[in-house]
């Protein structure tokens, strides 16, 4: 059966009017009806620009210069209009909060119909129908503020499905979701594609998570050019993803580390269906030989949370929570949204104080200290650096905390120099904050906390929305802070890869309770905890079960072997 093309780029080049260089260069790409395509690439590679060319935001909302041709369903986009295109292409944006423009679920789903001036009687059944497709029909009266990220995304999806759009375009659908919701989203996309027989284009850099359900083709972009256009199996067997700064799936990393040379015939795109028979012995022998014994260290307790309760009005956010944090620990605080992670972090920082129980810093009840005093010992770094940066110049930003705490001139100078040097920002100290990259901004926020010489730093989703390159940059920097300066680091995160690679211990929250506090590999092998906390089993777990190894032992061996390898490199 020959399929007809639905998206056709021919020698397509695009330059934003505000930029000198073209963002997309000489793109030749054809996507056929009914295909499911993943567009992969690091941040800034042009993948969002490519998506905007398909849905018509380019050239209709972002002006620029186009060369070559881009046809959607046979029509040249520059001769069409954004409204005509939106009848063919349905887009689910990355920021599901911003896309939720209605005041209720029903109102948001109806938004496109309202703009068509459709009478209300006609609207109602169609809204119900779309809502049912995504499983949100029982929530029509709900306001957006109580919905989870996954639910908002479902509403966005329902809102674009009225006209039987031919192309569904997802811009980073996994960015705001916890691991389990991410799986559900990928599953839903798969089902909808099968039922409606539409073309699906997913823009993402989280390769392993998208491959949870099959994909026909992967397009890899770099610097505005297509560098690979192949099937998932072909791509995974080439070395190209590692070279281009895309994270390799964990199970493949585990296989390659054991020296297995995976081929296309093994069907490596899915850990459940992959042909593992011939690698089994090699894997078992490699991972059994990893020495996982650790020298016993004396741990010095720096923070102790004892039987703490906390409620907002009537809602109990923390219920009898206890844990201790030792000096130079690297800890992941995990759990679904609203489980109490952020509340616990705010409580540790002293912004909130416990209703019951106590928090001890170096053995002293912290009710004796003001927020300001605690702030000098425990630093809090927000997820979005733009929410923390208030000064124009990097140096001023870093000194702000010290100035607010009325430190002497000499002390300020000394501290910011040390902090900026630790963060490799010293040569850039007089630069404006606005000109540096996202990763560097993140560093500026961390430097501004480090300048206060805290013993503990809490980071909220330090790598959210970042591609693998920036992720590695931020995380190896944090690791060196921990290793070289003995700073205790707490990560609040959804990212299990991060927990595996960079932390030793995980504290798991569910419904305001602390349901797990153990080494990462034990937490990730405990099915009860995984389920309760909306985590998901990593592919390492599945790999271990398939080759008949004890998952706990296998994950531990992998972590040890992986870190050893990483440290050899650096």
């Amino acid at each position: 059966m020959s399929k007809s093309p639905i998206v056709e780029f021919k020698d397509f080049t695009f330059r934003y009017s505000t930029q000198r260089e073209p963002t997309l260069k000489n793109i030749n790409l054809t996507i056929y009806e009914g295909e499911k395509v993943l567009i992969l690439g690091p941040s800034g590679c042009g993948k969002s620009t490519l998506a905007n060319c398909i849905n018509g935001l380019i050239p209709f909302s972002y002006p620029g210069e186009i060369q070559g041709s881009c046809k959607i369903a046979g029509n040249e986009t520059s001769n069409s209009s954004i409204f005509n295109l939106s009848a063919v292409v349905g887009t689910v944006l990355q920021d599901s909060d911003a896309q939720f423009v209605g005041l209720s679920v029903g109102g948001d789903i109806a938004y496109a119909l309202e703009n068509d001036n459709m009478p209300r009687e006609e609207m109602l059944p169609r809204v119900l129908n779309s809502a049912t497709l995504v499983g949100m029909h029982e929530f029509l009266e709900h306001v957006p503020y109580n919905l989870s990220g996954g639910q908002k995304q479902r509403v966005s999806l329902a809102g674009i499905m009225h006209d039987h759009v031919k192309i569904l375009l997802f811009d980073e659908p996994l960015a705001a979701l916890d691991p389990q919701m991410g799986n559900q989203a990928i599953d839903l996309i798969d089902q909808i594609q099968k039922n409606n027989n539409c073309t699906v284009i997913i823009i993402e850099h989280r390769l392993e998570d998208v491959l949870y359900r099959p994909v026909d083709r992967i397009i890899l972009l770099e610097d505005g050019q297509i560098v690979a256009d192949m099937t998932p199996n072909e791509l995974l067997c080439s070395n190209i993803i590692v070279e281009k700064g895309i994270r390799e799936p964990l199970y493949l990393q585990a296989l390659k580390m054991a020296g297995c040379n995976v081929t296309i015939e093994d069907n490596p795109c899915n850990v459940f269906n992959m042909n593992l028979e011939k690698y089994k012995d090699q894997l078992i022998s490699y991972y059994s030989s990893v020495d996982t014994s650790k020298p016993e260290e004396d741990k010095e307790v720096v923070l102790e949370v004892k039987n703490v309760d906390f409620s907002y009005d009537k809602f109990k956010a923390l219920d009898d929570v206890s844990f201790t944090i030792n000096k130079a620990d690297k800890i992941a605080i995990v759990g679904k949204n609203g489980a109490g992670k952020s509340t616990a972090a705010k409580l540790i920082c002293g912004i909130l104080r416990p209703d019951k129980g106590e928090v001890l810093i170096d053995g002293v009840n912290y009710l004796n200290y003001s927020i300001k005093e605690i702030g000098q010992r425990i630093g809090y770094v927000m997820q979005n650096p733009n929410q923390m940066l208030v000064k124009d110049i990097i140096k001023d930003e870093v000194s702000l905390g010290l100035v607010l705490n009325n430190k002497s001139e000499a002390e300020i100078e000394k501290n910011i120099e040390a902090a900026l040097k630790k963060c490799d920002l010293w040569p850039m100290r007089n630069w404006p904050v606005s000109v540096v990259s996202y990763g560097q901004r993140k560093r500026v926020t961390i430097a501004s906390i480090l300048a206060m010489n805290p013993e503990i730093i809490i980071l909220d989703e330090p790598t959210a929305g970042q591609d693998y390159r920036v992720y590695t940059e931020i995380m190896s920097f944090l690791e060196s802070l921990n290793r070289d300066f003995g700073i205790t680091i707490l990560f609040i995160t959804h990212d299990m890869h991060l927990a595996i690679e960079y932390t030793d211990r995980a504290i798991v929250f569910a419904d305001g309770q602390c349901i797990g506090d153990d080494s990462v590999f034990r937490i990730l092998s405990d099915n009860d905890i995984i389920e309760q906390a909306n985590l998901k089993q990593t592919s390492l777990y599945s790999l271990a079960t398939r080759i008949g190894l004890e998952p706990e032992k296998f994950i531990e061996s992998f972590i040890v072997a992986e870190r050893r390898k990483r440290h050899e490199k650096s």
Binding site: L93, N115, D116, I374
Partner: protein, 283 residues
Amino acid sequence: MKNLNIINLTKGETFLHQLSGTTKVRLFATLMLYVMMSFDLPIILPLFIFSIIGIISLKPSWKVIKPLVIFVVAINILNVVLYWLANPLCGLEYTGDQTILFAYTDYLVVTKGTLWFLTIRLLKMLTAFSTSLAFIMSITPSELAAGLTSLGFPYKLGSIVEIAFRYIPDISRDYENIAVSMQCRGLELDAKKTKPIERLKQMILILIPLIVTSFDRVGNISNAMDLRGFGKGKKRSYYSEYPERKNDKIFKLIYCLITIFCAYYIISGIITPRDPKMWLYWR
């Protein structure tokens, strides 16, 4: 979070809530005209009573509206007192009465006419307020948008109102987060410990990142609206706007009658200027 203080985001259950947005907006517009056109007690008083009944029927959370009511009543009383201080004989022109009830000094006197005039003035202000309060509490932002469109305003105006209400809670959440992180860095937000000028400076420290992140969001929202065809046609329909029901029809009759009455009252007032004393039913 179903409601933002007194503003409902979703339709309530009571009689007034259940009216359509068009009915509410039109009724409110006519009632405002009605209360503004005169100082006649027999015209103002019934509306005042009805609007109070209206507020009660909406089953409001008294805890939420109490501060607002106290604030508005206090401001209006202050207004009346200042009015009197500025011209203790202000009622003369309207009532022709200058029977002195109390005299504090030669200048500061309370006359019967002034007292009457100021009482009616206060009642008129409070009626405007109570009618507005009932209106605000009964309507959702989407219905307001639908209602404004029905009055012939361009729908983009209504959408601005709707979008503003949609994102207020998001922005206040951002504000809270930024305030938390600034407090950890040593910002003192405690009013007792800082001088007003210091506080103002510190507020700016929170506002800068808030504005930056809000602008980021504005771009995303406008893309989302464009992609779903906002601004496509000259007209737009509303999901939250119920079709006209029996009660809406009754109210249609009521606001039509009120409009006719207002028109008659104003026009007849222009043709044969009313004796300004005509509303003095107290005699």
